[in-house]
């Protein structure tokens, strides 16, 4: 019997810097598996964000560019427009995509740029040490909302998948999570669909993945999973929001 489980070729054989209980590792693996399954590693260019995944190129084994904060969709646009034969994906967090980079993602999606965005939403700024994000939940405590997010003051958390689905340009938009095995299989299918739509030159694709941040939430990894199910998944509902067909 041969090996039944091994590291995808698109992942490097290295330790990551991600915290215990963080779901970036699972998401990296799913993206890498999809890249392997589609056989596109050698023509794939990733675009790294600013945030926890800024060093994603240390973990993916393909060409990579590193964007400024929020600008990954503009960079991916530049790459894909001049080299439509490449497979291009951005890997962005919620501070990067939903705050400073909201303009870039909306316009890239609206132009129907044929790249894929993996949007990791953990409702907080991770890399900078746990500040409030546009996706932070009402009453959620962060270092810049120490008494809980006051929606009277800063509004409600932004639902990115719904927002981008409101655009009229055809796209594939899905929201998934990876906090339990039953969710992971669905997330993998959505990521595979997203890349397939790109490979078939069909449309822009974005998979939002509701994620955990035990370190900055101040919870154990297990509590973080429970908190995600009870608080995030009730607001950030899973499912496919838009398909191009």
């Amino acid at each position: 019997m041969g090996k039944t489980f091994q590291r995808p070729e698109a992942l490097s054989d290295t330790m990551t810097h991600y915290c215990p209980g963080c779901t970036h590792g699972i998401i990296h693996r799913l993206v890498a598996e999809v890249i392997d399954e589609l056989g596109i590693r050698k023509r794939t260019v990733g675009v790294a964000p600013v945030g926890c995944a800024v060093l994603a190129y240390n973990y993916f084994d393909c060409d990579f560019q590193e964007a400024a904060h929020g600008r990954a969709p503009a960079m991916a646009t530049g790459i894909k427009r001049v080299r439509p034969d490449l497979v291009v994906f951005t890997y962005q967090g919620d501070g990067d995509l939903a705050s400073i980079g909201m303009g870039e993602i909306i316009h890239a999606a609206n132009r129907g740029e044929k790249f894929t965005t993996i949007f990791v939403n953990n409702a907080i700024y991770g890399m900078t040490g746990g500040q409030m994000a546009p996706t932070t939940m009402p009453e959620q405590r962060t270092t810049t909302s120490p008494f809980g997010r006051n929606v009277e003051d800063v509004g409600m958390p932004i639902k990115v998948a719904e927002l981008i689905s409101a655009l009229q340009t055809p796209a594939f938009i899905s929201r998934q999570t990876v906090i339990k095995p039953k969710y992971i299989n669905k997330a993998k299918k959505a990521i595979l669909k997203a890349f397939t739509y790109q490979v078939e030159k069909k449309c822009f694709s974005l998979v939002e993945i509701v994620s955990t941040c035990p370190t900055n939430w101040g919870m154990t990894p297990l509590d973080a999973i429970t908190w995600t199910e009870e608080n995030l998944l009730t607001y950030y509902k899973l499912g496919d929001y838009k398909t191009p067909d």
Binding site: R41, K42, R43, T44, V45, V47, A48, V54, L55, Y57, D61, C62, D63, F64, Q65, E66, A67, A68, R71, A74, M75, A76, T77, G78, I79, K80, R81, V82, R83, D85, L86, G103, E104, H107
Partner: protein, 356 residues
């Protein structure tokens, strides 16, 4: 192809195509929007890419992405737009990618105005972005020279893997002049497989390429900055360009002026000559690197008693002139920055006031 009468902005667009640059991303801003209007028609004819971005911020990163993928790419903008692009230019310099930026300057600060200006001199030559980044900056004084500089800019950007800027003013962009286009550039970007993220199966080597400007290890970051500095030092040795006018006379005054302003000064120098007053000019064609030696040598001539920097800004290049003259002769400044270009008569009066 003989001479054609062309608007500066359109000629700049055509020059890029003739330099083999078939990728253009831009955001409209007066007084250079004609470049985009020209290229939206022209790029499809040559199988090129034209895209109007959502902002200058985004455009700078479209340029970065395309440059990082190893393709020739350029954009055009004007002063406030260049401010928005300056973040991206710093990243492009840090990641050592080649790209060409054209700044058709208008008056500032803030929204300023839409008329010609040279008030982005310091930004272009000294402060284009955060960190120790510099660009090679060329300043054309005619539509013909703008065409030649645009065509030279791409090989230079690739030689140094660094952003190159064409620093024109609104007049260069808006006026029509006869122009003769040089032959198409034949050179392909040479070494892109060594560094560009153009897809692993596109290259002979099996290692991947990373385009990045983050170096968390202080030694690695210092090394990257030393590499950049070595390139800027090499530019100072190899790329300085300037032109002299009326310099073989016993001139009493030396003017340093560039771009549109230098053409006005040339007319003033001719008028002064008719009155028996000899004045010389050094016209920087590169403003970074600045022609320090040419300015210093011209100022050191025994007959020369005064040096004046004449520019459409409130005294920016004058600091480079002072730095070049090194206290050997008095250095003055004259300029206007509302968008109305100083007249030859005004320059004549200013020069006379220096010698009387």
């Amino acid at each position: 192809m003989g001479k054609v009468l062309m608007k500066g902005n359109e000629a700049i667009g055509e020059a890029a195509i003739r330099a083999g640059c078939l990728n253009y991303f831009a955001y409209p801003i007066t007084p250079q929007s004609e470049v985009a209007e020209y290229l939206t028609k022209r790029m499809p004819e040559v199988g090129g890419v034209f895209l109007q971005g959502e902002s200058e911020v985004a455009v700078a990163y479209m340029i970065f992405g395309a440059a990082g993928a190893g393709e020739r790419v350029f954009t055009t903008s004007s002063s406030p737009g260049i401010s928005l692009m300056s973040e991206g230019i710093s990243y492009i310099a840090g990641a050592q990618c080649p790209a060409v930026f054209v700044n058709i300057m208008r008056g500032g600060p803030g929204l300023g105005g839409i008329l010609p200006s040279q008030a982005d001199y310091n930004q272009a030559t000294k402060g284009i972005g955060h960190g120790d980044c510099r660009m090679l900056v060329m300043a054309p004084a005619s539509v013909q020279e703008a065409v030649e500089m645009v065509m030279n800019a791409f090989p230079l950007a690739e030689k140094y893997r660094n952003p190159v800027m064409i620093l024109g003013d609104g007049l260069i962009g808006q006026m029509m002049e006869p122009v003769e286009f040089p032959d198409h550039l034949k050179t392909e970007p040479s070494n892109k497989d060594d560094w560009a993220s153009n897809g692993m199966d596109h290259r002979k080597r099996s290692e991947r390429n990373l385009v990045r400007s983050l170096f968390l290890d202080p030694t690695a970051l210092n090394d990257n900055n030393l590499q950049l500095k070595a390139k800027y030092d090499q530019m100072k040795k190899e790329e300085v360009r300037s032109e002299s006018y009326n310099s073989d006379t016993d001139y009493k005054v030396l003017i340093v002026s560039y771009g549109t302003m230098s053409r006005v000064c040339r007319t003033a120098i001719d008028a002064l000559k008719e009155e028996g007053i000899d004045v010389a000019m050094v016209r920087p064609q590169t403003v970074f690197p600045f022609p320090e030696q040419a300015v210093r040598d011209a100022a050191q001539k025994e007959s020369c008693k005064q040096v004046i920097s004449i520019e459409m800004s409130m005294g920016q290049m004058v600091e480079d002139v002072e730095r070049s003259v090194r206290g050997g002769k008095p250095v003055h400044w004259f300029g206007k920055c509302g968008g109305d270009v100083p007249t030859p008569e005004e320059v004549v009066d200013v020069v006379k006031s220096l010698i009387n």
